[in-house]
């Protein structure tokens, strides 16, 4: 016996009850229909269609519909990409449309060690296309476009060593050649005019970087940086190299592959470890150890490798010390010794001691990124608005006419912070000559001065 007043509330109870029930059903209904389930059903359908006998069909019917993930405890990553990309390791799916395509060439990067996001980036924990590919708000590392994928190689490998990453090597070489280091600091060395580049790949998007190389002022108003005049392909290579500068380094298993066994790495090691002090190549070097020319004819790979592991084992009583090389380093050195020590190939090697001061000076010019402002080969500089020197950083062709060696040394060491203005009332020219004192070594400075003094073509030399 409820009062009539209470009865008036009954419709409300019915409405609220239906609403609660309906909303709970809606919540679970929405939850049941997840994107990845559709792809798993598509995969099962495909497997069913391919089945040629009853047993295969039965096996396909038993494929569970579930979230799949690859856990990488060493690096604290969980990638759920294979929830949709179900056939990445099934070669019979090559040429299929995504997400059911096969992933070729992963023999050296097995999924159980690398999963997906180490190379491709994106959001491994997500299980919807948009979120997983990372093109959503609040996810900083969306998937790398395929043309930049080689940037990820640098997480484990040294950028200069990878024969499988030509674009990365090209970008790095270009970076050195253009002289970016003259203004930008990277890994502790470089100029001070521009911002440091450590970790720039994690801070900037590929689009930003490419735009920035073409017209720096468009993305960074007031930037002193001159536009980089290179081809589109080279812009891509530079962008790729920048994207590789993430400061993200993987530990344990992954660092063991830092030096890739290959002749280039072997050559670098050969120079670094000072092998030339005892051994000679092309007639240059020490006489303590045997000459290495034509080694291929005398020794095989097994012997050389064993020799590196323990010299006494292969040559009892030898003076050669035991170096603590990793296996990868041993393989690299061995490959170098077997390929680059042919009588015809040794000329490719140039050791600093074999070079003339002018050649070494040119290397110094490149090392400190002087080209970044003074131009490649020091011939013409980049724009420097409102500088008295024709609104440009001066080229260095005629430097020997204006300076003697002592003056030039002083100029390089001290720099010139205040650049003379073209229009005295105009703004300060953005680029200036940094002081290289304390950064450049005495020997390097000698060589650099020699190089700069040599720039004036002989025919144009004038005597006053």
């Amino acid at each position: 016996m409820a009062s009539s007043e209470l009865r008036k509330l009954y419709p409300w109870f019915i409405v609220a009850g239906l609403a609660v029930g309906g909303l709970v059903i809606l919540a679970f209904y929405k939850d049941q229909f997840r994107e990845w389930k559709e792809w798993q059903h598509a995969y099962i359908k495909q497997e069913m269609a391919r089945a040629t006998n009853e047993a295969q069909r039965a096996a396909a019917a038993l494929i569970p519909v579930e979230i799949k993930q690859i856990v990488l405890p060493d690096v604290g990553r969980i990638d759920r990409c294979t929830t949709c990309h179900l056939a990445v390791d099934d070669a019979s799916y090559s040429g299929f449309k995504q997400p059911l395509a096969y992933h070729p060439n992963h023999a050296q990067h097995p999924f159980e060690k690398f999963a997906c996001t180490i190379c491709h980036q994106g959001q491994g924990l997500a299980a919807t296309r948009e979120a997983a590919h990372g093109h959503v708000e609040h996810w900083e590392r969306p998937m790398l476009p395929m043309k930049y994928i080689e940037a990820s190689c640098a997480k484990c490998h040294l950028a200069s060593d990878i024969s499988g990453a030509p674009k990365l090597a090209k970008g790095r070489a270009l970076f050195d050649e253009i002289g970016c280091i003259g203004c930008h600091k990277l890994k502790g060395s470089g100029g001070v005019i521009g911002p440091e580049l450590d970790g720039v790949g994690a801070r900037r998007s590929p689009e930003w970087l490419a735009k920035h190389f073409r017209t720096p002022a468009a993305v960074t108003p007031g930037s002193a940086m001159p536009p980089i005049k290179v081809t589109d392909e080279e812009i891509d290579a530079l962008t790729l190299y920048m994207l590789s500068l993430t400061e993200e380094r993987l530990d344990a298993y992954y660092t063991s592959m830092q030096v890739l066994p290959g002749p280039e790495a072997g050559q670098r090691l050969f120079l670094e470890k000072g092998c030339i002090g005892c051994h000679s190549l092309g007639g240059q070097g020490g006489k303590v150890g045997p000459a290495l020319e034509g080694l291929k004819g005398r020794r095989d790979a097994t012997w050389i490798a064993a020799h590196f592991r323990n010299p006494q084992a292969t040559t009892p009583g030898t003076m050669m010390p035991k170096f603590d090389f990793t296996e990868a380093q041993i393989r690299a050195l061995t490959e170098f010794l077997l390929t680059k020590t042919e009588p015809g190939a040794v000329n490719l090697l140039k050791f600093p001691a074999q070079m003339t001061p002018i050649e070494r000076g040119k290397a110094v010019f490149k090392k400190y990124g002087c080209a970044g402002c003074h131009g490649r080969d020091a011939m013409s500089g980049v724009p420097n608005p409102n500088a008295k020197t024709a609104q440009q950083v001066p080229g260095l062709k005629f430097v020997s006419e204006g300076y003697n060696k002592a003056e030039l040394r002083k100029r390089i060491l001290g720099g010139q912070k205040e650049i003379n203005k073209l229009n005295p009332k105009g703004p300060q020219p953005p680029l200036y000559m940094p002081a290289w004192g304390g950064k450049i070594s005495e020997g390097e400075l000698d060589d650099l001065v020699e190089y700069l003094m040599s720039l004036l073509p002989k025919t144009e030399k004038t005597d006053f």
């Binding site: 016996m1 409820a2 009062s3 007043e5 209470l6 509330l9 409300w12 109870f13 609220a16 009850g17 609403a19 609660v20 909303l23 709970v24 809606l26 919540a27 679970f28 929405k30 939850d31 979230i67 604290g76 969980i78 759920r80 959001q123 924990l125 997500a126 299980a127 919807t128 979120a131 609040h138 996810w139 900083e140 801070r203 900037r204 998007s205 930003w208 993305v219 960074t220």
Partner: protein, 423 residues
């Protein structure tokens, strides 16, 4: 039909053992329903007619209570998935979103219920003030209410950190630095709260323990006392209720030759005793049904919010990359706005004054005018002061929320000052 089935179930031995009283058919049984049930005995068997009217309270306290229960239920469910570690907390959020069945709805419900609870606690306080319901004999219950208000803010604030994203990390960094502005003890308080000088693993664990054990436990006990006091202080405040008396019977006044029932020993009279019995109705079903209806509506509102709007989750917390501007949770933005003028005023004096003033309010405002009446004309001064403070705080909060851009510069929400660079 359903009713018949229910009646039959209650008639069985097992049914009788669970529910002492069946579906009540008489007034006696209606009273017994309320008295003999653990969950319902918090309320008297009969309540005043006024209690049933929606405009008396707007259901604000009740809604707050429901939100608290929903928060406990959703919160316990979330605890099955959440790991309070700086490495795994953020991953727990992603798991809830992408893997756990209905995980996102669960987290959304918890998040929105938390914000709503802060709002409804504030609205409930305003209702009690504007109806003069904190006056004698309800002064102390108001004080308990103020403590519950602070506990609610603390619960929300500690929960804010747990997702361990940029929003969480920097809101707590800003919020806890407001605490650090207090002279002498400020830094110490901040250190104790965070377990260090910055927000890190120690802070996350402290906030987690506070959020899931200490604060909800304290709130639950105080809510119990708060509701108990509502009943013991004579139910809802109403105009013309008899003045509270507390005459003590001297022990000598009682004959010693007789043994006493407890009723006879209780001193004083509570306002509900012996007056206006005709204006009272049975709690069952009149009040209970309305309460259930309000609960259903709250659940509907929360489900709609949770299904269609996702709780925010920003980037993984990055201690070296603060957003610009870094903002505290919205209920502290009024204070943060004040801090931008003066750290001492915004961080110490104003919040201390607010708490002291709220606690002291029922002891300062002792006139018995306007009890149980919305915006009584007899309380012009009190109403004006409270309203001015309230409006000031709301305006400051709105300025802090939407009119403050990068570097805390003034901006209009539809034309933000952008200094954030394109990535």
């Amino acid at each position: 039909m359903l009713k018949k089935l229910w009646a039959q179930l209650l008639g069985t031995r097992i049914g009788r053992s669970v529910f002492r009283v069946g579906l009540p058919a008489s007034n006696l049984q209606r009273a017994q329903v309320a008295i003999s049930s653990f969950l319902l005995h918090m309320q008297p068997a009969k309540v005043h007619q006024r209690t049933l009217k929606f405009s008396t309270t707007l259901g604000l306290g009740l809604i707050t209570l429901y939100l608290f229960f929903i928060l406990i239920i959703t919160g316990v469910l979330l605890m099955f998935y959440y790991v309070p570690s700086t490495d795994l907390a953020y991953q727990s959020m992603k798991d809830l979103e992408f893997v756990v069945t209905a995980g996102m709805v669960l987290r959304n419900m918890h998040r929105w219920a938390a914000h709503l609870m802060v709002i409804f606690v504030m609205l409930h306080m305003c209702r009690v003030f504007y109806t003069g319901a904190y006056k004698q004999p309800r002064e102390f219950n108001w004080v308990i209410g103020v403590i519950l208000f602070i506990l609610t803010l603390a619960l929300s604030f500690t929960g804010y950190l747990l997702p361990w994203d940029q929003l969480a990390f920097w809101a707590i960094t800003v919020g806890s630095s407001i605490a650090g502005y207090a002279p002498i003890v400020g830094e110490k308080i901040k250190f104790i709260l965070l377990g260090g000088h910055t927000v890190g693993q120690a802070a996350l664990l402290r906030f987690y323990v506070l959020h899931v054990v200490l604060l909800p436990g304290a709130a639950l006990v105080l809510i119990g006392i708060h509701l108990w006091r509502v009943r013991k202080d004579g139910g809802l405040a109403r105009p013309g209720e008899p003045a509270f008396t507390q005459e003590e019977l001297p022990a000598t006044a009682l004959p010693t030759t007789k043994s006493y029932g407890l009723m006879e020993l209780a001193h004083g009279t509570t306002p509900a005793v012996g007056v206006e019995p005709d204006d009272e109705v049975f709690t069952w079903p009149n009040l209970i049904f309305r309460e259930i209806l309000v609960f259903m509506l709250v659940v509907v509102l929360l489900l709609v919010l949770a299904i269609f709007w996702n709780a925010p989750l920003e980037e993984f917390a990055n201690p070296v990359h603060p957003p610009n501007p870094a903002k505290a949770p919205w209920y502290f933005l009024g204070l943060q706005e004040l801090v931008s003028y003066s750290a001492l005023w915004g961080g110490v004096i104003v919040p201390a004054l607010i708490v002291v003033a709220l606690v002291a309010l029922p002891y300062l405002d002792r006139r018995r005018a306007g009890i149980g009446v919305w915006f009584s004309r007899e309380r012009k001064v009190a109403l004006s002061i409270f309203s001015i403070c309230l409006v000031t705080m709301i305006v400051l909060t709105i300025i802090g929320s939407v009119f403050r851009g990068p570097n805390w510069s003034f901006q209009v929400p539809w034309k933000p000052n952008i200094v954030a660079e394109e990535r």
